[in-house]
């Protein structure tokens, strides 16, 4: 821990800190995974009109292809048809790709993922965004000052989630 005693002397928080349960590495990793999922998500809220079904509301494919004489009714397909026939989640796709790549000795999607940087990570205060040189004793979150520490303790500190 990089907390300097001199900076924090006189703060009541430090006494609280001593008693605080330290959140283990597993929970910290779980939190990080959750954050990464959030950063990948399309929406934060629920569909406001979940009842609005797409295929019924969207006008049909309406360009002149429709009126082409070679075109038969048989060739028109609903979106559900494709969704059903080609339904695979991302992980399935990646796994299939990896297996096929191994077989054919080619580079796969997973192979091109970037390595970790040899540079040391930089640390920013989770509260205000400026450089943060202290770690929260409980959960490891970075902060820069007593003020930001207090905010962190009152809001996003993992002690609440644990």
């Amino acid at each position: 821990m990089t907390i300097s005693k001199s900076t924090l002397r006189g703060s009541n928080r430090i006494k609280e800190n001593d008693k605080r349960r330290i959140v283990d590495e597993t929970s910290r990793k779980r939190r990080h995974r959750k954050i990464m999922e959030l950063l990948e998500s399309d929406n934060y809220h629920d569909d406001p009109h979940a009842d609005l079904v797409m295929s019924k509301k969207i006008p049909k494919f309406d360009d002149n292809l429709e009126h082409r004489n070679t075109r038969t009714k048989k060739k028109e397909r609903t979106t559900e048809y494709y969704q059903f026939k080609y339904r695979k989640n991302f992980q399935q796709l990646v796994d299939e790709d990896r297996a096929e790549a191994e077989l054919n000795k080619r580079v796969s999607y997973m192979d091109i993922q970037c390595e970790e940087s040899p540079l040391p990570p930089r640390h920013f205060c989770a509260v205000c965004g400026f450089l943060g040189q202290y770690n929260c004793l409980s959960c490891g979150t970075r902060y820069c000052s007593i003020r930001c520490m207090d905010t962190h303790m009152d809001t996003r500190c993992l002690k609440w989630a644990a």
Binding site: P48, S55, D62, K88, C114, E116, P118, L131, C144
Partner: protein, 548 residues
Amino acid sequence: MFKSKRRRTSGAMDSKPAKKESIEAIIVDSGAYSIKAGLSSIKKPNVIPNCIMKAKSERKRLFLGNQINDCRDCSGLYFLLPCEKGYITKWDVQKPVWDYVFSHNVCPINEKPVIMTQPLFNFKSIQDCMDEIFFEEYEVPSMFRLNPTDLGRLKYIEDNNFTQDVPCIIVDTGYSFTNIIPYINGNKYLRGIRRLNVGGKLLTNHMKDIISYRQYNVMEETFVINQVKEDTCYVAKNILEELKVAAKSGSENTIVKNYVLPDFNNIRRGYIQDSSDLSRKEYEDNCQILRLNNERFIVPEILFHPSDIGMKCMGIAEAVVKSIYSCPNEYQEELCKHIILIGGNCNFPGFKERMYNELRSQLPHSWQVHVFQPKNPVSYNWEGGSSLLKVPDFKTYMVTKAEYEELGSTIIQQRFNTWMIDNSEIKEETREKEEILSYLDNLKDKSVFGKQEPGENVSKTDSDESDTNIQTSDGNMNNTGQNVSDENNQDSLCHNSETDIGSKLKKTQLKTNENATETLDEFYLEEEECEDLRNSVDLFPLGNGSYL
């Protein structure tokens, strides 16, 4: 690359002899965020959001692509996106959007050939579905698929009048990820490719999160915050200097801006408030205003240091260096002369300059470094479609509907997937070059500002020196490293004791720009002298890939 694989089918389109006729085709760069589509004969593509949106205010309809322009109130928009990490997984979203794009509303196919992009290593079942939709339902007469950067490379080569074997490296930083792809002898050199899982989507979501934590809850306002990002964010030249300015108060802080959020009444798109414009003042007093300070540059900074948010992944510039060193020795120096930046994230002001500075300082002194960013980094790949059509005999490489029916998806996909590919292994000797990076080991376990991490016993001054060395290795960033070694650096950041940083920054900027232009001139001069060579080389993307 087609070698023996290419088979002709009777009656397809092989009756005509090879000649330089102009083909008109539909060019479609189908990205995870937007679809760029249009006839090859037009200059600019239609750019259509690749999504379906639902608005809180409109209970009865969905908005496909650019129909969102008809939506009165865009607050709390709900997104249906077809892609996951850049790859199509939701066909119930993708199909209706494509139906819309290829209808008379945007760009009808009208029995024209279709050139379509697909992401690197596009998965087999996604390609199967694309085949079925385009050949069977849309009944395209012929089609070709390739990676978006293949088009970008062709455009770069054509615009600069280079020969097809000029090596180049394309940095494509988009919505879902950032790909770094070296092209050698016209082929993607697979062992050199790198991907960062950082794209515009992650940046917008991160911005939503920090604004929601610090100011208003905007977690449901992806649409608006994406615009805030586009309107206010920039890439810092040097983050420590930038943080110092952002820590100042009053007029000395030139970074902090107020952003007037849209109310979808009189303001449809938010904007940075101009405090001197009093005419708007009264109205703005009743608007919600975001105060943006270090967020403006901390957000794009994730591209350069994904570790800022705990991702175990190197930054975009480091990854370019890594990619170059993963290529065969004899091409590395040449690759540095042709670094092409494309994709939406290039639109952050300062992006190109930062890339140049970082690459310049990380690559060997004696190598020329030239970074090119097109005027429109979003549509550049699409624009390459017309370059593709000029490839001699290109028409014969397209897959016709008859060929699809006769040969089936697996065989035609091989044609698409082996285009411009080099899957060869690297020679052992190349590894030596990586040692240039070994200075980085000295920095291990130390934080940016030269402080030791607990548990390490390397002396502090050591780290500061190496830090400064990296930044000044090319002599154009003399000012940037100085304060890092300042014992009280941290305190000064917090207490605003620094003065005249603004002018200092300006100076650095000027110097760097000068340097960039210099390099550019040198570069073009040399290219002119090489003209003879250009005419004698006759390799093309379709040439066979193995040069080792």
